[in-house]
Subunit: 420 residues, 2 copies
């Protein structure tokens, strides 16, 4: 029998006693270990201590690690000493209940909810995903930058912005790094950031967070094909890394069929409208998709897909309008497929001609004078460029098959949730 | 002569003509290349195009790459074709002037200033540093999380917070992830985040940014020695990575003597006060250091140093008070040494007893009822823990020997700067 001296720390999950033997299920930071206490082999003091242990007690166990045929991890710890480091009141939510607590209760006690193995598994996957994004983009020659969160100008209008008072001046929380990442493209060629973004929309859907983390990518001299390929490969790289590093977590989350996709599909906006109309939706050319329409659409697909062009009227000013058909703009949305599919990203080719930009701003009801520095920068040899913004929580919602995007945010923010 | 067909893109730095030969200095996204145009070897059209090129024109050059004894990179491009992709107006600031533009002018035209090789070098180093932090902490078993930026409760009081209106409720921008990273320690054991932080201080010093990126680290079951060692090794790891990946950038920045430090020093708060008094500062036990005092202090050191204890009265409530001497708390500041030295981080051991925390809040004039969820979490088997928050721009200010911290922020925010 192989054995080894160990000192471990963890939270008490349960204590089961059967006569002269007690089993402590102990949640360490990484695993769930079994501590087996045999009355005849430990001191009286230790045996009586076991009786006092309660759920979520944080304890130190010193003992011998031995192989076990019945313990979950195939091993158990025979303790020489147990020390209570921090006692616990009975937790107000059952961290190991067969039926999960209701979401409002989970959020109220989120600081306990995040101790649950399922929740921890999600965030271990998220950590892998964030790292994978950087690794992939770095390999492709992108430089990581950070852009301002407090900005003076509304990027896309203003309706969805949180205003703040900045030393007596009006300012906003950035919805995206759009204007700034574009400025950086002329210097660095290929740039990205992963940063928090804020949307003051009163959207209470399964896919909206008021505060989320966005992968912002921008590249000079790119094409629509390049942008679609890059995003597809990025997503697959993330999946490969998750498979490599989070096998245990995927098991905890009950995900057994994750793999990179073999290909992506492309569907034109016009075809999307036709498809939705056939499905009975009251939608016409020029409309953006609502939540129900999007859900119906993504269910039709088994692989990620792109919509590579949108009506100019529902496309932000910084996209390039199609010269051949000015009713359309070179905006590309990437959509996750299936039951848990959502829009993952929006991007496309950008306009870099300041006169056309100004014209577009006016068409869309924006004031060019609010964008003074942004418009000016295009006067100095600006390279053609494009990019995208991808929501990391959206992507993981689909990959991890989560009904609610809020699960991917440690402390989610929604119109109703500001605490904890 | 080795030669190779190439197609490159870049901005025109200068065009020098000498009779029948013209030299175009071309700033690509990565380098500065030399394009050598020989009148007798190119078309008339190409030769006359060269005359029209102006500074910051963005051009495409197709030609042959050949070795050169006189060109900077030891190579030059003999063009077959040159195509102007975007013309440029004459830039309002001289991107290559021997005398740098004044800072207010550079900020006004920051979107052009960031095209300067010196500025780009700083951000290539910063990108390396951010990645090094994650790599190092991941190797040490830390998980990367993200914490809310919009928070309901002021972490340290409220004077330095930007208030926002959050769907009709009062909220703030987070100064740090303090309360949230502590909550995560009980679940994950070792956590970190790199995220924007905000301080509404009206500080106009060489080391203050209103918006900066902070490395937030927190670990269960740590000690003051562990925390100091971890930070010292982290900083050295960052330096090693910079030396590995940014040789060219360090050259551009004129930094020739960068290397990891052999050791760190520890100086007690009491000794710091004595030292400053000897230097003529009017400071007494219990005071925090001002900007001038800090500057005088760091100049006395040649290696990073820690101040491992502070008066409780100037230490935030979440630090553990020294049981043996309650006038002191287990707060540890890490300081960068020398002329460009500044405070890099603040951290220490945290209090995890809710009663003592409540008492400390009251002592420091805070309302415990604003910290309801935070205080509650310590009732559930909370592990002893500690951590630190390190400013990435602060650290790089010292490493890159920059007089002004604002240089390390692509679009800095200060009480006076909100645009661009």
């Amino acid at each position: 029998m192989s054995q080894q001296e160990v000192k471990i720390y963890g939270h008490v999950v349960t204590v089961r006693r059967k006569g002269k033997i007690a089993f402590i299920a102990l949640r360490t930071f990484d695993n769930e270990e079994q501590v087996t206490v045999k009355k005849n082999e430990v001191s009286e003091e230790l045996w009586s201590l076991v009786k006092e242990l309660g759920r979520e007690y944080f304890i130190e166990v010193i003992g011998t690690l031995v192989k076990s045929k019945i313990a979950k991890l195939g091993r158990e710890i025979l303790p020489k000493s147990i020390r209570v480091i921090s006692k616990s009141e009975p937790p107000p939510i059952d961290l190991y209940g067969k039926i999960e607590a209701e979401w409002p209760t989970r959020i109220r006690f989120r600081y306990l909810d995040i101790r649950r193995p399922k929740v921890k598994a999600i965030f271990r996957v998220r950590s892998t995903a964030m790292n994978a994004v950087r690794e992939f983009l770095k390999k492709k020659g992108f430089i990581e930058l950070t852009f301002p969160i407090i900005i003076a100008t509304a990027t896309e209008g203003g309706a969805e912005l949180f205003p703040i008072i900045y030393f007596g001046k009006e300012a906003f929380l950035a919805q995206s790094s759009q204007l700034y990442k574009q400025s950086a493209v002329a210097a660095f060629g290929k740039v990205f950031s992963i940063a928090p973004s804020f949307r003051a929309e009163k959207s209470r859907t399964r896919k909206h967070l008021t505060e989320f983390w966005q992968i912002d990518v921008e590249a000079a001299l790119t094409s629509k094909k390049d942008l679609m390929d890059l995003q597809f490969r990025l997503v697959n790289y993330i999946i490969e890394k998750i498979l490599e590093e989070n096998e245990k977590d995927l098991k905890i989350l009950g995900i057994d069929k994750l793999e990179p996709w073999d290909y992506y599909e492309v569907i034109n906006y016009d075809e999307v409208i036709d498809l939705l109309r056939r499905k009975g939706f009251d939608i016409k050319w020029g409309d953006d998709f609502g939540a129900d329409e999007e859900r119906a659409l993504v269910k039709e697909f088994e692989v990620p897909f792109f919509i590579p062009q949108f009506p100019s009227s529902i496309t932000a000013f910084y996209y390039m309008v199609d010269e051949k058909d000015p009713r359309k703009a070179h905006r590309i949305d990437m959509m996750g497929p299936g039951e848990y599919g959502v829009e993952w990203s929006s991007g496309g080719l950008r306009e870099h001609n300041p006169k056309r930009l100004k014209k577009r701003m006016l068409e869309l009801g924006l004031k060019p004078e609010s964008f003074e520095w942004y418009l000016d920068m295009f006067n100095y040899g600006f390279p053609p460029h494009g990019g995208f913004g991808m929501g990391i929580e959206r992507l993981l919602q689909t990959i991890l098959r989560l009904e609610r995007i809020h699960e991917v945010s440690l402390y989610p923010r929604t119109p109703d949730i500001l605490k904890p």
